[in-house]
Amino acid sequence: MLEVTRKGDMIVLGDDAVRIEEGHVLKTATATKELLDNSATAPHYQIGRLDALGNTITEGQEFTYVDYGGTDGEAPAEGTREFKVYKRRELTPEEQSETKGTRTYVFDLAGARKGEEAAIDLGQRIAAGGK
């Protein structure tokens, strides 16, 4: 079991082998007037603008959004959050070459859990080579 420490808002396992952070949930759904309303999703999600992945939002087609919740209306939707688990991966020489030597590693999203303890358990399993 790796040592669990905290750095800012982040939970770190071992020597920065795995990181855990709480953040809003990324969701994919059909773009409807109801879902794009500011009572349901953030105001920047609008038809013709970019979604969270950088794709243009088109009515009736799938789009991806960060679930911050709504901002307007009598009962705006509540946003959802989760604990996200990231695993450190050393870049291959080819990948390092692509970054012009500016980066030697990256943290890949490896999973997520609703609770902090469950996320730490997942992080320990991932650090040990499991899933």
Binding site: G23, L50, G54, K100
Partner: protein, 125 residues
């Protein structure tokens, strides 16, 4: 809904003014510090604490805002398509916020990037 006076709003915006150190160009909207600075990072500009945003000022039609300092020659660290910009406190490993770009932009490592100033505001009510 209650209204909020400038002192209350400024105490929040002061975090951007005094603690934000970097702007990161990202391939998608980040939800955590790690995503902004590593998982989805394509480039960054290090302003140093206190250098990324100005002091809080009046916001129209109400509330308060801070304005970012324009990026003149940020560093591109990866190849990909930029879709968002994040503002982070790298001293304390915190994501302060993010904004989606008006349009995507293909970027190549080793090049530089620019970004005009943008506002981050909090309404008073």
């Amino acid at each position: 809904m209650p209204s909020l006076q400038s002192r209350v709003l400024d105490l929040g915006l002061n975090v951007l003014d005094t603690e934000t150190t970097h702007l990161y160009l990202c391939s998608q909207e980040p939800t955590t510090y790690t995503e902004a600075t590593s998982t989805y990072a394509l480039g960054n500009n290090n302003f140093g604490a206190g250098g990324a945003f100005g002091a809080p000022a009046a916001r129209a039609p109400n509330g308060r805002k801070v304005s970012s300092v324009a990026v003149a020659a940020g560093t591109i660290t990866g190849n990909g398509t930029a879709a968002a910009v994040a503002f982070t406190d790298n001293t304390n490993s915190r994501l302060h916020g993010s904004t989606v770009l008006n349009a995507t932009q293909v970027v190549t490592a080793g090049n530089t990037w620019t970004l005009p100033s943008f506002d981050v505001g909090i309404p008073a009510q």
